[in-house]
């Protein structure tokens, strides 16, 4: 987008717009806090500031449309300078930066109250009672001004003028500063209305306020020229890809369509996802942005609006997301997962760019990932570990390298092998994606991951559920039942035998009966797992498994008083035994039924069994161990 001729080179046009003041009463009260805030911003003020209706909620709506249309039309002729493509890390007393396209990394030592803002081609920060402005490409200090103890809400820059909004520490008074490149304060506006992050194009400042309105303010003449009520919460005004956007939860492009539709104009929201939910595009400007990254910085969704001239939507049909150490490529139109990249550090910042995603990690590395497949296209170092990191990618464009990305299953497997409880929700999502594939290869991969020593402990129950539901790859599951499996693989985790039993029973895998029977009397297995194995044998056992069933039955029929899952397993084993064991099994089970030494719950179960034997069935999913809502099994047959 090109903005109207409002720069210093076009004072006439600016004057014309300046005359189009909205005639509203100036509802502008100044409390003590505001006065104190204003006093804190010392320095020479270059222009007279007229505040009458700048932040008034009473204006003539009929006029607004006409003035806005004129403003949009004029802005088309003002070039919006592309912002810097840069990552800036912050830690106490130090900023470290690196251009994304390969320039020299830089550092700037200065007290810091909060992480900085990247605005256009500058970095604006505050600390030690001073507002400072750096050239984003090399960290060169352009100017600094004392600002007292005000909190920086955001900044914009058009290459000549920097606008910065502040809140008083008490949160009552808000101040906007417009500063020239040489550090001269052009305008200073104070208000009790809550300000947001401002933008500036050609000496017209766009000032979000009241969470819903944006005032276009002529910095040259000190007049407001138009205002707009937005279709979405708006505490940010920013330029991106040559266009001007307002928003917070969603982004609304400032163009003729917005002017025509007004508050009913459609805004672009980040794609909703089951993991990240409906994330706001930008965090509220009033939220403090500390030097240390928070969860909201680590778990985020990123996207770029489609460039000006294309239908509203997402650039590249791409969205990206981070979840601590994991980065994801998403298809915003469907929410489908394109790829996942398992990083070795926590990701604390990022930005979508044309052709991929730039991420910044806590160790101070900046990676560019390709849009397709998430391959690492480049890596840069900021030069220090950082507490937080802000990334801006505006003009950056990367063409696909053409390298084939690894299969999604391999990427997901790597991501699942990060044993970090914080990642569990995202890993559960990945596990479900993997398990959605019905192939034998997927079964083998799930099994490999389930027994892998590095996989997350928090996923124990999830792997159990995923494997129990498999209906392919019986050979892999049977192999895992063999005593040699652990020796062959050198694994440290035992396979989830209960899940294997459920799956093999569900498949009707006759070959599994022997290996399952050999696990029935494994003293290392918890009773609920043994119960599932017994249930599988109830479906699969043949006379060849009679000895193991008999051993299990006799060893445990008198030892299950305080162990309901074991009692249930004994009864299920009895049913299997009756089916395959012949007369000897009949005699044994009948004897147990009448033996006073038999555990009471087992005897009760046998009584029910010998009265009427229901058909064999694997345990219901809700009764499997390790699931939420699991209840103690009763010895009755399932």
């Amino acid at each position: 987008m090109r903005a109207g001729a409002f720069g210093r080179s076009a004072p006439r046009a600016a004057g014309a717009l300046g005359r189009a003041l909205l005639g509203a009463a100036g509802a502008f009260g100044r409390g003590a806090a505001l006065a104190a805030a204003a006093l804190a911003l010392s320095g020479c003020i270059g222009g007279q500031t007229r505040l009458g209706s700048v932040f008034s909620r009473k204006w003539l709506e009929d006029d607004s449309g006409e003035r806005l249309e004129r403003l949009v039309g004029d802005l088309q002729y003002v070039p919006v300078e592309p912002g810097a493509d840069v990552a800036v890390g912050a830690l106490p007393g130090l900023l470290v930066g690196a251009p994304l396209d390969g320039g020299v990394a830089w550092r700037f030592e200065h007290p810091l109250d909060a992480r900085p803002f990247i605005a256009g081609r500058v970095v604006v920060g505050v600390g030690g009672g001073e507002l400072f402005c750096l050239r984003a490409s090399n960290g060169e200090r352009l100017w600094a001004r004392p600002v007292g103890g005000m909190r920086l809400l955001g900044a914009g820059d058009d290459g000549r003028t920097t606008v910065a909004a502040f809140a008083s520490r008490a949160g009552v008074g808000h101040v906007l500063l417009a500063v020239d490149r040489d550090g001269t304060v052009l305008r200073q506006l104070e208000t009790e209305e809550p300000l947001g992050r401002p933008a500036v194009i050609g000496s017209i400042a766009f000032l979000p306020w009241g969470q819903r309105f944006v005032t276009a303010y002529d910095l040259t003449h000190g007049e407001d020229v138009a205002r707009v009520a937005l279709p979405t919460d708006a505490s940010h005004a920013l330029t991106l890809g040559g266009a001007l956007y307002f928003g917070e939860r969603g982004l609304a492009r400032f163009d003729a369509a917005l002017v025509r539709a007004g508050a009913r104009a459609p805004a672009l929201f980040l794609p909703k996802h089951e993991i990240w939910g409906a994330m706001p595009w930008l965090r509220p400007a009033a939220e403090p942005r500390g030097l240390v990254a928070e969860r909201a910085d680590k778990v985020r969704v990123y996207a770029r609006p489609a460039p000006y001239g294309r239908p509203a939507g997402y650039d590249d049909d791409a969205a990206y997301a981070t979840y601590s150490r994991l980065a994801f490529g998403l298809r915003p139109s469907t929410g489908a997962l394109r790829w996942v990249y398992a990083h070795d550090e926590v990701i604390v910042g990022g930005a979508a760019f044309a052709g991929g995603f730039a991420l910044c990690d806590a160790s101070g590395r900046v990676l560019l990932l390709e849009r397709e497949g998430g391959l690492v296209a480049s890596m840069r170092r900021l030069g220090a570990a950082v507490g937080s990191c802000v990334v801006q990618a505006d003009a950056l464009r990367r063409e696909p390298s053409g390298r084939p990305p690894p299969p999604f299953a391999d990427q997901a497997a790597l991501a699942l092998l990060v044993n970090d409880p914080e990642l569990a929700p995202a890993q559960r999502f990945l596990l479900r994606e993997l398990a959605a594939s019905p192939s034998a290869e997927s079964t083998a991969l799930l099994l490999d991951l389930a027994v892998h020593p590095l996989r997350s402990d928090a996923l124990e129950g999830d792997f159990d559920a995923a494997l129990a539901a498999r209906r392919d790859g019986a050979a892999h599951l049977i192999e895992a039942l063999l005593p040699s499996f652990e020796g062959i693989r050198g694994v440290l985790r035992r396979p989830p035998f209960g899940a294997l039993a459920d799956a093999l029973a569900g498949m009707g895998a006759a070959d599994a009966a022997g290996p399952l029977a050999s696990r029935l009397n494994d003293p290392a297995l918890p009773s609920p797992v043994t119960r599932r194995i017994a249930a599988a044998l109830d479906a699969l056992a043949t006379p060849a498994e009679r000895d193991e069933l008999e051993a299990f039955f006799t060893l445990n029929r008198c030892a299950a008083d305080d162990d309901p899952p074991l009692a249930a397993a004994v009864v299920v084993a009895a049913r299997a035994l009756l089916r395959v064991g012949g007369a000897r099994a009949d005699e044994l089970v009948t004897y147990a039924l009448h033996d006073p030494l038999t555990s009471t719950p087992v005897r009760d179960g046998l009584l029910a069994l010998l009265g009427a034997a229901p058909p064999a069935a694997p345990p219901k999913a809700a009764e499997r161990p390790g699931r939420p809502g699991q209840r103690n099994e009763t010895p009755t047959l399932q």
Binding site: P523, L555, C558, A559
Partner: protein, 272 residues
């Protein structure tokens, strides 16, 4: 509320009977009335069963005629206290014919019963018992693993050294002395080979057992070579063991000299 098949007084009787079974038989004790015991073994009264099994255990090998009914009882299944009493009785009888049943009990879910089966297998002995004991080195319970290692040594299971080394590497400390007692020729080298990979306190009982075996089983040269390897270990870990061995040693001069040298090398630095 589940009902226990054993009432409290029955459990107490069983405990007393078990204690009595451990005591040496009195010289003037009359021979057991096997018929009476067998009759009680046919009943289903837990107290009577407990008493009968305890008496059978006290009778030891003399109760051999009771082995079939006791095995039959155990094979059909018993509550844990009675099963343990049956295993004790079978162990006291010490018949190799019991091995198949004892092997089954080595897979019981309760570790105390597996230990009972293991003890009985140790008493029974023979190749079948050795074969049954080897898998117990991988038992989920550390006590069972340790007892299995010791039992294999007691039974002279020289062909179980590979299993014992594997158990040692998996953290079964009892495997070290078992290996020291069992190994032959190059099979003993594994102990020395692990000196730099395992804590010496874990291996010392194995080294000690090896060192004090007769020269006919372990040549002096092999003992001397083992002692030389100790020179390179952290002295603080080794010295107290070597000093103790040296004090006890009454064998060949070559080994005595090697012990003296090892004690000197590993001695704490003197303060001059």
């Amino acid at each position: 509320m589940p009902r226990s098949p054993l009432r409290p007084n029955a459990a107490a009787a069983l405990a007393l009977a078990a204690l009595a079974a451990l005591a040496p038989p009195a010289a003037a004790e009359p021979p057991p009335d096997l018929r009476a015991i067998e009759a009680r073994l046919r009943g289903r009264d837990p107290e009577a069963l407990a008493a009968a099994l305890a008496e059978a255990a006290r009778a030891g090998a003399a109760a051999s005629p009771l082995r079939p009914p006791i095995e039959a009882l155990a094979a059909r299944g018993l509550p844990p206290p009675l099963a343990l009493a049956a295993l004790d009785a079978l162990g006291a009888i010490g018949a190799r014919e019991s091995v198949p049943l004892l092997r089954r009990y080595l897979r019981h879910r309760r570790a105390d019963l597996r230990l009972g089966a293991l003890r009985a297998l140790r008493r029974a002995g023979g190749p079948a018992a050795v074969a049954a004991l080897r898998p117990a080195l991988d038992d989920p319970d550390a006590r069972v693993r340790g007892e299995a290692a010791s039992a294999l040594a007691d039974l002279g299971a020289t062909d179980a050294t590979d299993d014992l080394y594997r158990a040692l590497d998996r953290g079964v400390p009892e495997a070290a002395p078992a290996l020291g007692r069992l190994c032959h020729a190059s099979a003993c080298d594994g102990l020395g080979g692990r000196l730099f990979a395992q804590p010496f306190s874990l291996l010392a009982p194995g080294c000690e057992a090896l060192l004090f075996r007769p020269a006919a089983e372990v040549p002096d040269a092999q003992k001397v070579a083992l002692l030389r390897r100790l020179h390179d270990l952290p002295p603080a870990d080794v010295h107290r063991f070597v000093a103790g061995w040296r004090a006890r040693w009454t064998g060949s001069p070559a080994v005595a000299e090697a012990l003296a040298r090892a004690a000197e090398v590993t001695a704490p630095a003197r303060r001059d």
